[in-house]
């Protein structure tokens, strides 16, 4: 099925996207956001003790995070006596697996054209060559459906982690997180049904391609222009899915210790934490792809910048375009990661009944209304 060279490229893509981007860069950056940025927002100093060879330099506190990682590796893996040993082992892995596999469908750039690129009606057309998929692991036609399917699986990690330890705090945390995640999944799906109506596809790369169009010749046709309400619904629902503040009742420190991972230590705890951090970045990447043009840079097409004069205004070589798009995508992703952190450290925690009310009585009716209105508008025009 794969030629050896295709298989090598696939392994390279998997390695770079998961081991090179999502886990280390994502993990470090979000750890940074969680500890240093939160300190900045709350007027604290944050972790600053670790030194490299005794040199008093905080180096953005990066040594601290590396030291924490190494420390976590050599911590004792404590397991309560009457815990379910099998599921205590499986649950952290089950939490991490969806966080890794979700990245399959995120396009970091457009399909690479081996021929010449022509621009027609604000779309890149590949002439005399193949389109190679170098910037996403799998260019699935069912991309968005795959995202829904896999993010549903991440419920199992939390639920089983809570149940397996045989601790009441963990059980309550697991139940709370399960109920919260499945409640917001309904809104997540319904709010995106509107965007599916607009794009007419589930393929995330095609969505990004369509967002290269210009409305009235100047406004980039990003998803948020068509579906502003869906963006807010989706962003709130995805924030609830990541189980962090202000939706952090499943692991509310002041109520139930650490929630469903109270009894996890060492790298098992690390795996659960890592899955949440990677989830945060994934939310950023998905929101950027669906609502903010993905890898699109406004006015930039395959052969350069077009500012509406009908031709190329600033010519850019194709390799430069690809690089700019990659940078743009990562920048957009990091912006939404940052936005989540700002919200996370600004808003107080909701009460549990408020979370359920918000999910079922406010977001769900709004998302149904959004879908109905979008459908009528799309079909009327």
């Amino acid at each position: 099925m794969f030629s050896p060279i295709d298989f090598a490229i696939l392994l390279l893509k998997i390695g770079v996207i998961t081991l090179g981007f999502a886990l280390p860069i994502g993990g470090l950056l979000t750890l940074y956001g969680d500890r240093k940025l939160s300190a900045l927002i709350q007027n604290r100093v944050g972790p600053n003790r670790a030194k490299v060879f005794g040199i008093q330099s905080s180096l953005l506190s990066l040594p601290q995070f590396v030291a924490d990682g190494i420390k976590m590796l050599f911590k004792e893996d404590a397991m309560p006596d009457n815990a379910d040993r099998f599921w205590h082992f499986i649950a952290p892995a089950l939490a991490l697996l969806p966080a890794i596999t979700l990245w399959a469908v995120i396009p970091f750039g457009d399909l690479y054209c081996t021929g010449t690129v022509q621009v027609k009606d604000y779309m890149d057309v590949c002439v005399g060559g193949e389109q190679k998929n170098y910037f996403s692991i799998a260019n699935l036609d069912a991309g968005l459906l795959y995202v829904f399917a896999i993010s549903s699986i991440s419920v199992y990690g939390a639920a089983l982690a809570g149940w397996s330890t045989n601790s009441k705090f963990a059980l309550i945390g697991g139940l709370r997180s399960t109920a919260q995640m499945i409640s917001y999944e309904v809104t997540m799906g319904l709010s995106l049904a509107g965007t599916m109506l607009i794009y007419g596809t589930l393929n995330l790369n095609e969505m990004a391609q369509q967002q290269g169009a210009l409305l009235g010749g100047w406004l980039p046709a990003w998803g948020i222009v068509y579906q502003p309400v869906a963006f807010f619904l989706f962003f709130i629902a995805m924030m609830a899915e990541t189980k962090r503040a202000p939706f952090d009742v499943p692991e509310g420190e002041s109520e139930i210790v650490a929630g469903y991972f109270t009894e996890f230590s060492a790298l098992k705890f690390g795996a659960i934490q890592l899955s949440e951090y990677v989830g945060t970045i994934f939310v950023g990447a998905l929101v950027a792809t669906i609502f903010f043009g993905g890898w699109q840079v406004p006015f930039l097409y395959g052969d350069g910048f077009h500012f509406g004069s009908g031709g190329v205004d600033i010519a850019v070589p194709y390799e430069g375009v690809v690089a700019l798009r990659l940078v743009a995508f990562i920048a957009k992703t990091l912006f939404f990661v940052l936005l989540q952190f700002m919200l996370r450290w600004t808003l107080p925690r909701f009460r549990y009944d408020q979370i359920m009310n918000l999910g079922w009585k406010i977001l769900l009716p709004i998302s149904i209304a959004n879908l109905v209105i979008t459908a009528i508008i799309v079909l009327a025009f």
């Binding site: 998961t18 890794i100 799998a138 601790s167 399960t178 309904v186 596809t201």
Partner: protein
């Protein structure tokens, strides 16, 4: 098909990676268990009984509502993709379907299935 093959490879890779990380937790790290470390944490006191307790029925309600509404969402997605080709008839059918969904939501709301106190 190549894309689904890629997914398969990614899943194998993900399982291997997640398994390795969790396995490392048990491989490294000295084990010095004692009675208190092996107890579950219950705010410092001796644990009272087992945690395999009966669960509030509200969680069951949420699960049932989720299955209902999420299935309806999944049924709406294929229509949403091809809505432009289906035109008015498709819209009418989909709106009837959404109408049933809304009636179900109102019914559940009025019955108190969404209350959480």
């Amino acid at each position: 098909m190549v894309d689904y093959g890629a997914l398969f490879v990614l899943f194998l890779f993900g399982i291997a990676l997640a398994g390795t990380i969790v396995a490392m937790a048990t491989l490294f790290g000295k084990k010095l268990p004692n009675r208190y470390k092996k107890q579950v944490y219950e705010a410092g006191s001796e644990p009272l009984g087992d945690a395999r307790i009966r669960i509030n029925v509200k969680f069951y309600m949420v699960a049932i509502s989720f299955v209902m509404f999420d299935l309806e969402t999944v049924f709406l997605m294929p229509w949403a993709i091809v809505a432009k080709e289906f035109g008015g008839a498709g819209l009418a059918a989909a709106m009837f379907f959404v109408g049933v969904l809304v009636v179900g939501l109102i019914y559940e709301w009025r019955k108190g299935g969404l209350e959480w106190e």
